[in-house]
């Protein structure tokens, strides 16, 4: 199994969700996140004082899938989150040792 983590622009979340549902992935976790990469922050002005805001708001999407589905899921997320502008985000995958469904105690791919 693989844990796929995607950091994307918040307003692309709906597209990513739809794309994953079309692949039959039912279940993901979304967290509001902030960070920066090549995209620089922005400035805000309060009573003439300028503040540089470095951290840009993003959403972090996490989904655990079977190894065979991993590449398709990554591609789907990338296609759905893509705008072509700086700040589109990153997607990565790491191996997962085990997964347990809390309600039933099922383990491994059955728990997905």
């Amino acid at each position: 199994m693989k844990l796929i983590t995607a950091i994307v622009k918040p307003y692309r979340l709906d597209e990513v969700k739809t794309a994953l549902q079309e692949l039959g992935i039912h279940g993901l976790t979304v967290t509001e996140a902030s960070g920066y990469g090549r995209q620089r922050g922005h400035t805000e002005v309060y009573r003439g004082a300028e503040y540089q805001v470095d951290l840009v708001p993003k959403v972090r999407i996490e989904v655990v899938v079977e190894d065979a589905e991993s590449d398709a899921v990554i591609d789907a997320i990338v296609r759905a989150a893509h705008t072509g502008k700086i700040g589109d985000g990153k997607v990565w995958a790491v191996p997962v040792e085990t997964v347990v469904r809390v309600r039933t105690g099922e383990r491994g791919p059955d728990a997905l």
Binding site: E44, V45, Y46, R47, G48, A49, E50, Y51, Q52, V53
Partner: protein, 437 residues
């Protein structure tokens, strides 16, 4: 504010002043929101509390001695009143001041003292020891607000009676004393940790706008109520107040658009307040044209003045100096330019053929009041700092005063706080029953 000699109560005047008094009282909670929205989440409650407790603290000292020292018979050379009415002695339902009950006049004046003390808190946001503030407010009200008020509006007070300077609704006792005192106190306490380094963004601008709206609403009571009657002067003052708030707002936004490229919400709220500050002393003496210019000048100049603290290194956190001191000085001085005899009943400013005389009187009044308020407040602040300590501890300041002083947090955001709170269990003492042993 001209005390009249007539000794019977006018019901119309009394009705208006009752309403105006309630309006002015509402300004202090309004100020609490105006300031509260500008600080960071971790100390918004402390900011609200500094204003809110001022209502209670100032009321007690005002009734005990403040009113008598400010408005009692002159005791010494136009400098201070006597203690004849200490504890409101000798005043009852039948006492009359001008055409209104004396008790109402005293309460109206009390609401001015309250908001003036509360205004100072903006200069020392996020870092003052609350216990020291509780001592500072009553002492400051007696040593700074009360004497200056006597000089301006008390019987025989030297600024109006001898010098001949004009101040209709409180440019000197309210705006300039609070601004100069704020400057003194922020110098005593020193800058917030991280001043000029960390972003200290206002945490809730809608709250700031709500506060500014309540201030503006209450300001009609503040200024038009100062006519002490329901009459044509009150109406003219009311209109001047609206006009100056509007041009203040526009002036500030215009500068922002030119200088920073964006008209901001905080700028609109601040500009309206700056215009209202400047029209406070002048609303009863300038023409409508004068009011428009006074507001515009205050909005434009104050939008620059709020930046001085970064260059001169004083952390006047919420710009009490940049808005109230600077706006108050502008409004008080411009009386010397725009005063018209239809409003003042005699005095004319530079623009209406009165020459430089009135401008000179206004300048003297401004200089003396600013210097007095700054000096005495610096003294009070220093004594409190050396004894009780006026500056919060470093970890209190980092953690935020809401949690460390008041044991509260303003907001419960996020899934972890909803419904059945995670990480918050009820302590046995809060259940009012002791757990079985």
């Amino acid at each position: 504010m001209t005390p009249l000699a007539a000794a019977h109560v006018d019901t119309g005047d009394t009705a208006w002043l009752l309403a105006a008094t309630a309006l002015v009282l509402l300004m202090t909670p309004g100020l609490a929101l105006f300031y509260g929205g500008m600080v960071r989440t971790k100390s918004v409650l402390n900011m609200l509390m500094m204003s809110f407790v001022s209502i209670a603290l100032v009321t007690v000292v005002w009734l005990a001695a403040g009113y008598s020292l400010a408005f009692g018979d002159d005791a010494f050379g136009g400098l201070i009143g006597d203690l004849g009415h200490a504890g409101m002695a000798g005043l009852g339902p039948d006492s009359v001041q001008g055409t209104v009950p004396t008790l109402l006049f005293a309460t109206f004046q009390l609401t001015f003292a309250i908001i003036t003390a509360a205004l100072i808190s903006g200069a020392i946001a996020d870092r003052a020891k609350f216990a020291a503030w509780l001592v500072f407010v009553p002492v400051w009200a007696l040593l700074v607000y009360v004497p200056v008020t006597h000089w301006v509006w008390g019987s025989g007070g030297w600024i109006v009676s001898r010098l001949g300077a004009l101040d209709f609704a409180g440019g000197l006792p309210v705006e300039i004393t609070s601004g100069a005192s704020g400057l003194a106190l922020c110098l005593v306490l020193g800058p917030r940790l991280g001043f000029k380094k960390d972003a200290m963004r206002p945490h809730n601008l809608p709250m700031v706008v709500l506060g500014a709206g309540l201030l503006w609403f209450g300001w009609f009571g503040f200024n038009a109520g100062s006519a002490l009657g329901a009459n044509g002067l009150a109406a003219a003052v009311f209109l001047n107040t609206l006009a100056a708030g509007c041009t203040g707002l526009l002036g500030w936004l215009f500068v922002e658009q030119k200088r920073d490229g964006h008209p901001t919400t905080l700028g609109a709220a601040s500009g309206a307040v700056a215009g209202l500050v400047a029209i406070t002393p002048s609303c009863g003496s300038v023409s409508l044209l004068g009011a428009l210019v006074v507001g515009l000048a205050a909005g434009a100049v104050c939008s620059y003045a709020v930046g001085w603290k970064f260059r001169l290194n004083y952390d006047d956190s919420l710009d009490v100096v940049g808005v109230h001191l600077v706006g108050g000085v502008i409004g008080t001085l411009l009386i010397g330019v725009f005063a018209v005899d239809t409003m003042t009943g005699g005095t004319e400013g530079l623009l209406y053929g009165g020459g430089l005389t009135q401008l000179g009187r206004q300048l003297v009044a401004v200089a003396v009041v600013a210097a007095y308020a700054f000096g005495v407040t610096y003294g009070i602040g220093t004594v409190l700092d050396r004894t009780l300590g006026f500056r919060a501890d470093e970890d209190q300041e980092y953690t935020g005063l809401d949690l460390t002083v008041h044991a509260e947090t303003a907001y419960d955001h996020g899934v972890l706080g909803h419904g059945a709170p995670v990480g918050h269990s009820v302590l046995p003492s809060a259940q009012k029953v002791k757990p079985p042993e």
